[in-house]
Symmetry: C2
Subunit: 205 residues, 2 copies
DNA sequence: GTTAGCATGTAAGGAGTTACATGATTTT
DNA sequence: AAAATCATGTAACTCCTTACATGCTAAC
């Protein structure tokens, strides 16, 4: 089962899945990817890499020798076992998949999964958020008595944000469902809808 | 200095500031207040309360005896020292005040602080978010090469969310300056902005 | 030549979760 | 009578951050 701490592991496997990399770069990419919350420190990345080495999920490879410099940097690569583990973790649908942090990571690597899984994760995430919303709104109705202005404003803003998130997920789900058949002709962006990258055709990379 | 773990302490002091309460209820209110992220467990709340008791920030008081039931529940109350500490923590402007978690707590208890502090915290928070935005966008321009669709969509959504947050803060700051009660984005088209000669000199952003 | 950033690590410790343990009270 | 939920706690454990330690390389 995917415990909480497997987040780094999944992230590392996912990034290395796109090509070999050394620790320092790994950390930068990770922080860019999840940089909205806490920042990953070396103190957790390097030990995690060591652990993954021991578990045989990744291996060290010779650093690409740039003509001029041969600085000691350790480049990592996923093993076959590592790829299998990555697939396994990505295929896990269940609570752990749609918790805040885990969801982001999974989403970022969606290209490496089946649409079926994607849909299940997106829908799970949406349900989770809707539950929260419901719970908070129930609670507010019962307890609304003595909340101060600022606390109330914080609540309001929170609810609004989550509702936004739900809409985002709904758009993505619709996009996944609608793009089942690959359209050969580049579809001209028909609606003026803001969905941004709405399309997201299922690219198998 | 306010270390990370003072978050619970501040929250407890803030809630008790509004009236005595027992642990169980404290936890519920806290989770409702910050319930968007992690949920506070008894395993951290009760030890925190004990610690605060020892530090003399709170005291036990006799449970309000509901006619029918006299269930053993321990009601806490802030001491004078506790209130002093609360004021001290709330007045602390600085990085710790505008980190994600700390900001929310502080904001929720804004009613208990001066407008000057409020403005400083709001502006600090906004700067922080803008820095992040800048950093990410710089990074994206340099590294934009090989990001996959989903990772890109996640980025886009993240940026949009933070931009929203910045607008929210700007509205709040404007409201504080104009001495308007905070009801920013949700408010119907307000007739005219109150353009008072606000006492606070417009701190340049 | 010196500052800034690249690059890798370790040790100690903090903060909070999980799981365990217990029992009273209200609701169905 | 059972189930839910109120109510309080403790112990072990996990994950991660902070701070320390080291040295290379690019740019100014």
């Amino acid at each position: 089962m995917a415990r909480r701490g497997d987040t780094i592991e999944l992230a590392v496997l996912g990034l290395l899945h796109e090509g070999p990399m050394h620790g320092y770069e790994l950390r930068k990419r990770l922080n860019l990817m999840l940089g909205w919350g806490r920042v990953l420190s070396y103190g957790s990345l390097y030990p995690a890499l060591k652990k993954m080495l021991r578990a045989n999920l990744i291996t060290e490879v010779a650093a690409t020798a740039t003509p001029t410099s041969r600085r000691p940097r350790i480049v990592y690569e996923v093993t076959e076992a590592g790829n299998a583990e990555f697939q396994r973790l990505m295929s896990e649908v269940g609570p752990t998949a749609w918790e805040d942090d885990n969801f982001d990571i999974r989403f970022a690597f969606f290209s490496s999964t089946d649409m079926e899984i994607r849909l299940r994760v997106l829908e799970g995430r949406r349900s989770r958020l809707q539950e929260r919303l419901q719970r908070v709104q129930d609670e507010l109705e019962r307890t609304q008595a003595e909340v101060n202005r600022y606390a109330a404003e914080l609540q309001r803003h929170g609810v609004e944000s989550v509702e936004r998130e739900v809409r985002w997920l709904s758009d993505l789900i619709r996009a996944e469902r609608g793009d089942v058949t690959p359209a050969p002709s580049a579809s001209p962006p028909s609606p003026a809808r803001v969905v941004g990258g709405a399309g997201i055709p299922p690219t198998h990379d």
